[in-house]
Structures are given as C-alpha cells and as structure tokens.
C-alpha cells in the first residue's frame, strides 16, 4: 500500500479512519475520472462509453415500466375479462412508472429515503 507521502492528509496512514477517508477520496476521484474529461488519452471513446451507459440505463428504466404495465394489464384483462380496459389503464400507469424510474435514475427526483 502507498504510504502517506503523496497524500496531503496529516493523519497517520495506518489509522483506519484515515484509510477509509482515503478510500472514499479515491472513490470520488475514480467517479470523476470515469466521466469524460479533456485530458484523457482518447476522450471521444470514454465520452461515448459513458454516454452510452447512461442512455442505456435510462432506456431500460423506461421500457421496464412500460413492459410491467402492459403485462399486468394484459393479465388482468385475461383473468377478469375486462378487455381492453386493463391494458389501457395499466399501459398508461406503466408509462408513468417508467418516466418516474427515468427521473429517479437521472436524479431529477430524489430517491424517497433521501428526503428524510
């Protein structure tokens, strides 16, 4: 492990709190480093990868909501014989849930537990 030479912290390096603080700082640096940056050797590649990952996350969140709504609506239609109302209502609800998922994933709406 690296000793405290390249660390600006003044705590002893073997202290567990200091270690976890350093790990956390490393994690923060890693998250900033994984974002597209100008001084990267191949910025276009990382930018593409990151944007691709983000876009993929959003699209799966949206599609998952719609699919779940459609499946529940279709099953209700079959079981209760109320076709096509189950599909109509739950497809719309599923779309709303998908949009909610996307907004949560994008951080527009905070996760519930972070409010309190």
């Amino acid at each position: 492990m690296a000793d405290g030479t390249r660390d600006q912290g003044n705590e002893p390096p073997d202290d567990e709190a200091a270690l976890s603080a350093r790990l956390q700082r490393l994690g923060e640096r890693l998250t900033t480093a994984s974002r597209p940056s100008e001084n990267d050797s191949d910025p276009r590649q990382t930018a593409n990868a990151s944007a691709y990952a983000r876009g993929f996350r959003m699209s799966t969140e949206l599609v998952a909501g719609v699919v779940v709504g459609a499946v529940i609506g279709w099953l209700l239609d079959r079981w209760l014989g109320i076709s096509p109302w189950g599909l109509i209502v739950f497809l719309l609800l599923g779309f709303a849930a998908g949009v909610l998922n996307v907004m949560r994933a994008a951080g527009v709406v905070r996760e519930r537990h972070l409010n309190d």
Binding site: S20, G65, G94, A97, H113, N115
Partner: protein, 253 residues
Amino acid sequence: MILAVDPIEQFQIHNLFPVAKIGSTEIAFTNSAAFMLAAVFGLTFFLVGATAGGRLVPTRLQSAAEIAYEFVATTVRSTTGSEGMKFFPFVFSIFMFVLTLNMIGLIPYSFTVTSHIIVTAALALTVFFTVLIYGLIRHGFHFFNLFVPKGVPIYILPLIVAIEILSFVSRPISHSVRLFANMLAGHITLQVFASFIILLGTGLGVIGWIGGALPFLMIVILFALETLVAFLQAYVFAILTCIYLNDAIHPGH
C-alpha cells in the same frame, strides 16, 4: 478458409451430460452450468487461498482479496449505512459472482453466462424477493409506506400509489436487462468485428488482410471497452442491489 460466422452461435447452450429428469423435462448439466461452477470454484480458491495466511503485511493475493472486500464494503456502507452491513455477504457474493462470470466471458472461446437473461433475471429476482421478504419481516405493514409518498393530496394518492407499485415491480426487469443486454451486445460486437477480418481476408486476398488491420485495431479498442463494461456492469448490479436493499432497511416514512 471459409468460416461460418454467426455472432449468435457463441451463446448457444450445449448439454454436457444429463443429471436428472423431472416429469418429461430433462435437467442436463450444460456448458453454462460448467462455467458457473468454474466461477464458484475459482472464487472459492482465490478467497480461501488469499485469506489462509492472514498476514499483517499482505501478499499480492491477500491484497487483492482485501481490495475486493474493501471495495464492496465501502459501496454497501455508503448506500445502505452501517445497518446494511448484514447484507454484505449477499452483495459481495453477487458482485464477485457476476464479475467473475463477466471476466471469464472475455476469454476467447469461453462462454458468457451473464449474457443469458435467465441467469441475470434469477439474480435480480433473488434481490427483489430478499427486499420484499426482509422488508415485510422487519417492518410489517409499514413496509408498504414505501409506496405512499408524504405530502400528496388524498385525491391523487391512489394514482401515485399505483405508479409507485409499478415502478417497484419493474425494478427486477431493468436490473436484469441492463447486465444481460450489455454483455450480449458487447460480445456480438466483438464477434462481428472479428468476422470482418475473416471476410476481408478470404474475400480480397492480400489487400483484404492488410485492410483487416482496421477491424483488428477496433477489436483491441473494443476489448478494452468490454473489460471496462464487464467490471462496470458487475459494479452497477451490486450498487443497485444495495439501493434496493436500502429500501427494505429504511422504507420512506
């Protein structure tokens, strides 16, 4: 040299030998099961071997195991708080299992277990039901407060609750599809670019082989990207597991 290039062929499941028969369904030991078993044995040997010495100054292997432990422990602690550490073995197992399977899948001629949605869906459903059952046991009916946001007018509450429930139910789908689709798409891309080299070489002769350097370069770049994706998707799978477990531990009041 003509190769039948089929980018999907690498995902085929072969029966290696039959194990049991339930009804008319034959349960066979497949290549998928073999790779899963290999991953489990590899992980067990790695972790047991790494921690057997328990040295104060770690060896390389022990250091690698400690890094893996610290990495997952930090993730669990930062997303679920110290109370979530009781789920650490669960998250660690999932993370290491998925990571190992993803990494094994990168070896040429091997089989990528995580590119099958049945595997990722099984993992995601395990997480889903863990959240549901633990949340119900721990909080009883208060767990359902998860679906009732605070400060919502009573007349639109039923709508909001329905949307929240659908959002909750759709989690295992996005959870499993993300890992599966990333691995599937990445391996198909690699295979397609690799087949370009063969097609150019067999079709155009010497010029084709020289031109094949371009897709080869692309494969090198893509392989680096795939290595990143293999790690990143295992990490994303683990961190989403933590986020979902957090709902079971602290449902919104």
